[in-house]
Each structure stands twice: as C-alpha cells, then as structure tokens.
Amino acid sequence: MTARQPLPVASAEGLVKRFGAGPAALDQVSIAIRPWQMTGLVGPDGAGKTTLIRILAGLMTADAGTLDILGGAPIDALEDIGYMPQRFGLYEDLSVLENLTLYAELRALPKAEHDATFDRLLTFTDLKRFQSRPAGKLSGGMKQKLGLACALVRTPKLLLLDEPGVGVDPISRRELWSMVSDLTEEGIGVLWSTAYLDEAENCDIVYLLNDGKLLFEGPPEALTDGIEGRVIKVTDFDDNRRHVLTRALDRSDVIDGTLQGRAVRLLVKEGCAPPDRTVLNEGEQTRVSQASARFEDGFIDILGGGPTGTSQLAQNYREIPVSDAPAISANGLTKKFGDFTAAEDMNFTVGRGQIFGLLGPNGAGKSTCFKMLCGLLTPTSGTGAVAGKDIRRAAAHARSSLGYMAQKFSLYGDLSVAQNLAFFAGVYNLGGAAAKAAIGQMTELFNLGDRLNVNAGTLPLGFKQRLALACAVMHQPPVLFLDEPTSGVDPVARREFWTHINGLVEKGVTVLVTTHFMDEAEYCDSVTLIYRARQIASGSPDDLKAEAARITGAGDPTMEDAFIALIERSEQSNAPGLAA
C-alpha cells in the first residue's frame, strides 16, 4: 500500500438527498476518503456537511447515488466506523470512564481489553485526571476529546468527525487537530468537517460544500494556487484603515477585502492588474505588497466575491454625537458565584466610534464580562457605564442606549420576520409612524421584503443574522453589543456584516464584540484577552501580535498564534502551585 494514493476506505458518487420540497440538501455530491489522509469537509452551516456525514455513517439513506464504505454498505461496516456527532454524543450524567465503558460495550470490545484501551485513550486525550467527573461538567474542549475517545474505543478504519472544532477555543482545536493527525499516521481514513476555513488549509484533501453543491475538491493548495498573485496587502496609508478598506472595496477591480491589524488585505478581480500605490491614492507612504493566498480567499473567489464597501445601513444611520465620556467603561468589574470567581477586576474604556473585542477560551470569563456590561448580570464589585450611564444605577437607561445581538441570533423563531421587527420596535419605544418607518427601512436595507411573513426560525442562517442585526440597530443606538455575531455563516455573509459594522463605526457607533474567529479580531481597534477570569493582555491586534512575536521569537504571527502564545505565557507564569 502506498502512502500516496491508497484505495479509499469510503467513497460516494452522485449523492442526492432532499428533505421535503425546496432545494436538495445534497446535490450530486461525490467524495472519497483515503486512509493515511486527513480529508476536510468544509462549508458554512447548512451547506450539507452533516447530511453527508450521516449518510456515510449509515444514519440516513441517500435518494440517489452510490455508496461504498469499506467495500460494502455502511450498515455492514459499523464495526469499523468511528463517528463523533456534532454534540459529541456523550451522556452528560455519566462520568468520563462510564461513557467510555458504555461505548466499549456497545462496540463489543472484549472485557479483557477494556482497561488497556481506556488507559491508552485517557492518556492520549489527557483526560486521566478527570475520569470520574460527569461528562456534563467538562469544558467544551474536554468534551470533544472524550467524544473522540468514545469514537475510538475500537480502532476504526474510517473516522467521521462532524464539526469537532465548533464552539471550542483555538488552543483546544489545535490539540484535537494534532491528536487526529496522529491517527492518520496509523492508517485511519479521517473525515474532518468544519466551518472554519483556516482548518481546511491543513487538510490533505478538501471538499468544499456550499448549498448542497460541491464547489471544490482537491488539495487545498490547488485552490489557493489559482489566486496566487491576486492577494495584496496595503500598509502605511494615511487615512483611517476602515476608510481605506471601504474605498478599496468600492473599486471594481477589488472583489474582497479584510482588515488585518494596521494593514488592509485585498483580493483582486481575476484578469485585473493589482492596483499599486498611485492607483489606490492613499498617500505617499502607502506600500503595496504581495500576500500569500488563503483558503478563504479562494472560497470567496468561487462565490464571485464579497459585497462592496459602502453600507446602506450606515448611510441612513444618525450621526452619534461626540461626548466626553467614554462610550463603554469597566472599572474593576468583578463577578463571583459563591466561591467561584467568573471575572475579576476587568478594566477598560472604549471611546466613541471604536470596536472593542473580548477574546478568550470558552468559560474564561468573557461572556460574564459581556453580560455585566449589558446588564444581564449584576457585578459583585466594580462599576461600569454604557453611553455615560451607570449600568447599576441607571440600568434601564443604559439598556435603552444599546443594541444587542445575541449568540446564535436568538430571535423569536415562531414569530414572523415582520412580527419580530414590530416587537423590537415597540420594545425600544418606537411608536406608530416611527416604528413603521424604521421597519420599512430595515426591510429594504436587509432585503427582507419577500420573507416578511416567514417564521424567523425557518430563515437561512444568513438571513437570521441580518434580521438579528436589523432588530438590534432599529432604534439607532450609540452602542452595539455583539455576541459571536458571525458564527456559522458563510464568508460572504460575514463580509457583508462587517461592512455594516465598519460603516456604523464611522458614524460614531461604539461596538463591543466577542468572537471565536481570530481573523475577525483584526477588525477591532483594541482587544482584551481574558483567560481564567482575568485580563491577560490588552491592546490593538498589532500590539498583541508584536508581544507574541517577542515571546515566541517567530516573525509575523497570525492573531491565532498570538492568542495561543499569550495564553501559554499566562499558564507558565501561573504554573506549578499557583494555578487557579
């Protein structure tokens, strides 16, 4: 057996799957998973990844197409398939060891091998210390590792992982990735499904799904090679970086652009020459350099590029008046639940028209901090203010000057789009004509006209995000709180979202955001990294990257590298005995 092109352990041709009427969830999808390889299945939420994995695992049958799993139907190969569903399939009330025992018995692992196997898996996943803890009490990263261990009680030939990285911080994701890579070295064929496009770059073979259709298959380089030379990085311009990005995106030869610290990264339209300093006209000092293409650039290119730079929403927004007080401030905010300190001594101020990011692993305290500022939690000590209003004494006033977008775009799923809009208009005291005008404007700006009577719960994710944003900004608040505002949506929808936010910021709106996407942290003017309930680093994204570069000695780290480096440093300084 050669390492290069071994026979696939699983292959499918022309799979089609429909759920009721409407477009197919999978439309003529073919895939091959080979041993010794990490096969990536990439795409935004709702692209059809889970459906494909379930068909491969024998949990669903396709409407059309052929399937060959280890030389037969999935049902005959169950013993050799390891499967980890999205929510890890753990029994939350059972302990780590009980979960393993359960899956060992289900997979008919001989009793004699139990202890040795568990020992190996617990060492492998570093869960030995927690073996008697109930699975429900584990952190997200640990649950994930346990889920993986359960899928591995009998070494499978095919390992199917459905979004193992979702909702988990970069450190845990990297650890899991390296564990799974070790498995491919043993000759297991692995399918790793993910919505994080940067994970795709590390796979051997990538299948890119969007709306049930296969957009790309092959090694990731094949995609990025195609756009090599079309990605440029613009630095040292005179104006504000957001203005530069907006102007660049409005150009016809630029199809996509993102912020990266002080730099602006642009994707040039196919066939056009990359614009140089004179063409961009952003000042004498402007430097334009080639940048390496990323998988996401390739994806956007296939989709035909992102939105233009000017936000209609922002253009219709009021100008937020300048004031002396900071828009958001936290002074020693602390929250304790019993003896457990969830957030300790949070200090920062955010000026008008700034984007401030709260970063950190799950459970580190960033949502506690976020919730204290928007009035969902009362701080144990310390003070905070939003738009100059104290969050304790003038809670209701503070609340009326902020717009809030909840995680997973929590809208009223059983209410129609129009009813959601009407409700939020009323809640923010817009009555009669004002409400009507605001609803009409939002409907038009976000293109919701066709869907006004549709239940919000049935909207595609991208539209949910738009509606959530519409509900949050309808009353034109001076401050926006965004909790994981782009998780799961496709990159084009993410671009569109940030275009609006950038535009609003220019009108003086202040934004507080939490995010898992490290590249999105680059949009922030400053960020604070929260770990174990404390702020371990603060500053602009470039400051943090520079600090990380000093720690590791490596040049030009990404935001994710910086995140990991800073957390590791904090671990070491806290290390033995002092750990919280």
């Binding site: 379930r54 695992a57 024998g58 949990l59 669903m60 049958t61 049902i75 169950l78 013993e79 398939i81 499967y83 980890m84 569903p85 999205q86 929510r87 890890f88 399939g89 753990l90 029994y91 939350e92 009330d93 899956y103 289900l106 997979r107 008919a108 109930p134 359960c150």
Partner: protein
C-alpha cells in the same frame, strides 16, 4: 439517569403525591356529610327523630327551627342537605300518615344521592325501632326487607379501590411519560445518533431502553403496593405472582407507547405533552378508575377499549380486594400483551436505523 431531577420527580415524587391524594383526598364515602335538621315540631316523636339524625354516623348535624337561616348554608356548600321535620309531625304520626322532607344539594348529584339514601335509611331504622317499642295500629310493617351485601369491601371504603387503581396510573406515568421523555432527550442531545452509529442491533437497542424502565415500573408498583397495604390498610387477598404478572403485562403497552411517542416526536417537550394527553389522562378518566365505563355514552365507551389501563384496573382491584381469579386475569393480560406487541412493532418501524 438517577441524577436527573425529572426522573426523580416522575419515579418518586409524583407517585407518592398521587398515592397520598387518592388515599386521603379523594374519598367518595359520604361518611361525614354536613346536613341541617329543621325541627318545626317539638313533639316527642319529632325530637326523637332529630336525635336519630344527630346520632347517625353519616351526618354532622346543624339544628335549626326554620328553613330560612339554613338556606345560606346550602348555597355556599356548608350543608349538603336539609331534613325538615314539619309542624304537626307528632300528630300525623299517630294517624300513620307522617312525612318528612329531605332536601338535597343537587349541585353535587353524587352527594345528593347519598344524602337522600342515608336520610331514608335513618328514617327507616327509626320507624322500625319505634314500631318494636310501640306498634302503631293500622300501619302494616313493611313485609319486604332488603338485605344488601357488599362482597370484598363490606366497609365500603372508596380508598380500597382508588389506591390500587392509582397504581395503574403511576405505572402509566413511569412507563409512558418517563420513557417518552428520556428517549426523546437522547434524540435531542444527539446521543441517539452515536448509538445508532455503533454496531448494536435494533433489538438490543430497544431492549436497552425498555429493560431499565420496566424494572423501574415494577419497582414503583411494589413500593406503591406496600404503601397501599401497610399505610392505607388496603387488604391484599390475591397472590404476588398474579400482581406481578398483570403489572408486567401492563408495562408492555405503556413502555411501547413511550418509545413510540419519543421516536415519533424526538422532542422532549412535545413528547411529554402527548404522553400526558394519550396516556395519563385516559388512564385516569377512561379506564373505569373513577368513572363507570358503562355510564359513558357509546362512542366514548368504544374509545375506552383502546386504553390499556382499562384492562389492568379491574384486575388490580380484584387481586387486592378479592383474590386470584385467573378467569378474569388471563383475557386482560392477553389483551395488554397484544397492545404491547403492537406498540413495539410501531416503534421498531419508527426507530429504523435511520435519521431520515
């Protein structure tokens, strides 16, 4: 499973609450009905009759001279009946043509019936006693004596049939409601998906879900039976084997229904609503537990044939109060097993190894 508050609630708290309520709260025995005796006459026979009412163990008597003041007691339910011993009663009785008026509170027909029956009973006894002491001329003694005998429950305690009946309801709750909930939760949390991706066979899978709740159901049945016998003093005249056999047979349709509901809904909330409407309420109302099936309109009587508890409750009442009558048990057990088989078949089809 044991750590889950919903499970503890359904397995322990709800059954005990139900049992206690049926043991203490729901009593159909009109043992202390409050009535008013209006004594308009003050002759010796009138006083003697009033005394007979006061001494009756069925009544708690309020005395009055006229009807007016006790009218309000009837309106707000503080009295369920008025017995009027009219003016001239003493005179009339000499002529052998006396009558008293028994007024009942018709807004509660069941109680009204009892008040009428017991008042007449007191009256009859009193008449008989007086005739023994001083026979009244011209008044023939009633030649027809009625001698009712209540088998199995001579003291006529409704608790004796309500408590065993509530065991059936408790088992319906554990078998259907809890099973539906717990299995629906597995669908919700995605553990079902992992289980299906293992090489486990369908039968093993169903068995693994059914056996624990089967045992739990039997366990709570035993607990309830012990409570019934030792706390509420319900006699147990049959055999333990018969009790277990019929309970086991009943748990089959209950569990099968729970599995079926969870597989069909895959959602805890909807599953519990449906379990409540399709299992708890029917076993409560349409099983003959509280209400006589033969008194219901025909279409509803037909529906009761589809309620598995209908077949268990008579057997349960029999095994507690009467003894082993296999002639009654066998057909019921067979029907329950049949229902169980049907539901399992349905859940098999619903739970096919597939998420489609």
């Amino acid at each position: 499973m044991v750590r889950d508050p919903a499970t503890i609630l359904i397995v322990l708290v709800l059954p005990l609450i139900l049992l206690f309520l049926f043991g203490y709260a729901v009593s159909l025995d009109a043992s202390r009905t409050r009535v008013a005796v209006v004594l308009e006459d003050s002759s010796e026979p009138a006083l003697s009759l009033a005394l007979a009412y006061q001494n009756s163990r069925y009544f708690e008597v309020t005395m009055a001279r006229t009807v007016e003041p006790v009218r309000d007691l009837m309106v707000d339910g503080k009295a369920r009946g008025i017995i009027v011993i009219p003016q001239g009663f003493g005179r009339q009785i000499q002529t052998g043509r006396a009558a008293i008026q028994i007024i009942t509170d018709g807004s509660q027909p069941n109680t009204a019936n009892f008040v009428a029956a017991y008042s007449n009973g007191v009256l009859t006894n009193w008449t008989a006693l007086r005739q023994l002491e001083a026979p009244v001329a011209g008044a023939p003694m009633s030649p027809l004596q009625i001698a009712p005998r209540y088998w199995y429950n001579p003291a006529l305690k409704s608790r004796f049939f309500l408590v065993p009946g509530s065991i059936a309801i408790v088992m319906a709750m554990i078998g259907t409601l809890l099973t539906a909930l717990v299995v629906a939760r597995e669908w919700e949390r995605g553990t079902m998906e992992s289980l299906m991706a293992t090489p486990m066979r369908m039968t093993e899978f169903i068995a693994s879900k059914v056996v624990p709740y089967f045992l739990l159901g039997l366990g709570s049945m035993v607990l309830c039976s012990l409570t019934a016998v030792f706390l509420f003093g319900v006699p147990f005249r049959g055999s333990v084997i018969a009790l277990i056999a019929m309970s086991a047979a009943y748990l089959m349709p209950a569990l099968g229904m729970g599995l079926f509901i969870s597989a069909a809904t895959k959602n805890q909330f909807v599953a519990s609503q449906i379990a409540l409407l399709s299992s708890f309420l029917p076993s409560f109302l349409l099983s003959g537990f509280l209400f006589e099936i033969s008194s219901m309109p025909k279409p509803i009587q037909i529906i009761t044939y589809l309620v598995p508890a209908r077949y268990l409750i008579p057997s349960l009442q029999t095994v507690f109060l009467a003894g082993d009558f296999w002639g009654l048990f066998w057909p019921n057990i067979a029907i329950m097993l049949g229902f169980g088989f049907g539901f399992f078949l349905l859940s098999f089809r619903m739970t096919k190894r597939s998420l489609d």
